[in-house]
């Protein structure tokens, strides 16, 4: 099942402190207020991020959800990944290794976790019991 709406990829600045976060949020505000926005934030350039950056992400997520859209994160730098994990924000977002993966995820029907499971099921074969070696993110 595809979608005709555009997916907007936005590259995050290399430093996300309070000032940068506000500027970035101001930039993406019009995009988030469109009908059912589909956004991907590219974190590949992020070298430093603090709690203000996490706050900004949560606010963006909240805005996007209000408009029935979705916000996904991609290409997390080690610093961003550590900060998001430390603040437990990584559990709230769909995170992809590359931007193209994130963009592609909007065009599929299955959510990311389900797609991984489906891929695993195809490679493992139908005879195998899916509960034996399910991907770790599906274990719970």
């Amino acid at each position: 099942m595809g979608t005709s709406r555009p997916v907007i990829v936005k590259r995050m600045p290399d430093r996300i402190n309070l000032q940068q976060a506000r500027e970035f949020q101001r930039e993406v505000q019009p995009l988030m207020r469109s009908d059912r926005p589909q956004l991907v934030f590219d974190f590949s350039a992020v070298r430093r991020m603090d709690a203000a950056g996490v706050d900004m992400l949560l606010e963006c997520m909240s805005d996007v959800m209000k408009h029935d859209g979705d916000l996904k994160l991609a290409a997390l730098s080690p610093h961003a990944a550590v900060v998001l994990e430390l603040t437990r924000a990584d559990r709230l977002f769909e995170i992809y290794e590359t931007v193209s993966d994130a963009v592609r995820s909007f065009s599929g029907f299955l959510p990311n976790a389900m797609r991984k499971y489906a891929e695993w099921a195809v490679t493992a074969g139908s005879a195998a019991d899916p509960r034996d070696e399910a991907p770790s993110n599906l274990a719970a």
Binding site: D50, P78, A81, E85, L86, R88
Partner: protein
């Protein structure tokens, strides 16, 4: 035991004059620019643990040499309190001089160690091995055949000692059989090794014992540690002296909170070392990490990141007076804010006195659920309470507001 020991902390010969590494990174035996051997591990620095172990084995004369300022940066305490220390820019030259001083005092053998690697050497077995083979110097290796940068040398053999020191305790002047350490060895090359050493100590896999009282099996707590009654410390774990665990924090899976560290409300530490004087912010989830000095090494991701936001990872002041002053200032700032909030919001939320009043105050946009619509059928006497209607009882089910 006619044996002295010299512990050299820091760079190998030729790598630098001081114990401080100029290029901090995840490897190279440094964390945030401080030699790992000087970082605290379950209440004491690794070099203290090694010196204590040597003293327990019967060596009275122990000299530790560190780079200038490295010890103070590491934990804010003077290493001289436990080990005689000769701060020196030229570590290896100072070691040579210390060795010659021991020789003039009449000490027969000197054990030379560079930290670097942590090895639990059986000194009796080493001394027996060294004397039985009548070697001037004996280098010490691990079971894999790697040098542990440790050796024992006859103090009177100056040329052998100088050769050993010039070669970083890796090679002897004359061919000799190396002593292989059969026991616990940890290379302490990076933060991952420091974490592994903490785990091994908490799981009793090595001789290092946590500095504190075992308040329950597998949980050690240092003196004056403050653990909130709602905080949970799950064995094996360590909480150092003057450390603070605030409400609802969780310390689990071989985690260690070193002295004067502070873990704020709701934070979970799992398989994590929090270094001394480190503040870990509220509501965080640190796992498989070593945190301190504004840095966090994530062991699973193999990444070291600098965290500049003091709300996430900060530093507690070393000075007790400054800490008290800061605490008083934050309290003084907190109370007026709460008072103003209280005044602005009002004392209590106003509650409607009656069900009819509540219904009248209900916003017009909110519609009643179908099952709460007043029934046209007469309510039986048994269901009708003395004061409230049936639908009001449903409202009350969700609280008193």
């Amino acid at each position: 035991m006619d044996l002295a020991a010299i512990i050299i902390v820091g760079a190998r010969p030729g790598e630098g004059d001081s114990g401080k590494n100029p290029s901090p990174g995840i490897a190279d035996e440094v964390f945030a620019g401080i030699p790992i051997a000087l970082l605290d591990l379950l209440g004491k620095s690794v070099v203290h643990h090694v010196a204590d172990r040597l003293r327990r084995a019967g060596i009275e004369a122990v000299t530790a040499l560190t780079g200038e300022g490295a010890g103070e940066e590491a934990n804010g305490r003077d290493i001289q309190s436990q080990v005689s220390c000769l701060p020196a820019n030229q570590l290896w030259r100072a070691a040579e001089e210390a060795l010659f001083a021991y020789a003039t005092e009449g000490i027969e053998n000197v054990l030379l160690l560079r930290l670097g690697p942590y090895a639990e050497i059986n000194l009796d077995a080493l001394l027996r091995f060294h004397t039985e083979r009548r070697q001037n110097s004996t280098a010490i290796f691990d079971q894999a055949g790697g040098p542990l940068e440790a050796a024992i040398v006859q103090a009177a053999r100056r040329s052998d000692a100088s050769f050993l020191l010039r070669n970083g305790l890796r090679a002897t002047r004359l061919p000799s059989e190396p002593y292989i350490v059969p026991d616990y060895v940890n290379r302490l090359e990076n933060a991952r090794d420091l974490r592994r050493l903490a785990q091994d100590a908490l799981l009793m896999r090595c001789d290092i014992r946590p500095q504190g009282r075992e308040v329950k099996p597998g949980v050690w707590v240092g003196e004056h540690a403050r653990i909130h009654r709602t905080a949970r410390v799950l064995a094996p774990a360590f909480v150092g002296t003057h450390a603070k665990l605030r409400a609802a924090s969780v310390v689990t899976r071989c985690s260690a909170v070193e002295h004067h560290a502070e873990v704020d409300c709701g934070t979970v530490l799992e398989d994590t070392t929090v270094l001394p004087y480190t503040y870990v912010g509220a509501g965080l989830d640190a796992s498989h990490a070593v945190a301190g000095f504004g840095r966090l090494v994530h062991l699973r991701r193999d990444a070291e990141v600098e965290i500049g936001d003091a709300r996430l990872l900060g530093t507690v002041s070393v000075s007790a007076a400054w800490r008290t002053l800061k605490g008083a200032a934050s309290l003084a700032a907190y109370l007026p804010v709460q008072a103003v909030r209280g005044l602005v919001r009002g004392g209590h939320r106003s509650q409607p006195a009656t069900a009819a009043q509540a219904e009248a105050e209900m916003p017009p946009t909110r519609t009643r659920p179908a099952n709460l619509e007043p029934s046209s059928e007469p309510v039986s006497a048994s269901n009708q309470g003395p004061q409230f209607g049936g639908d009001f009882a449903v409202v009350r089910r969700y609280g008193n507001e």
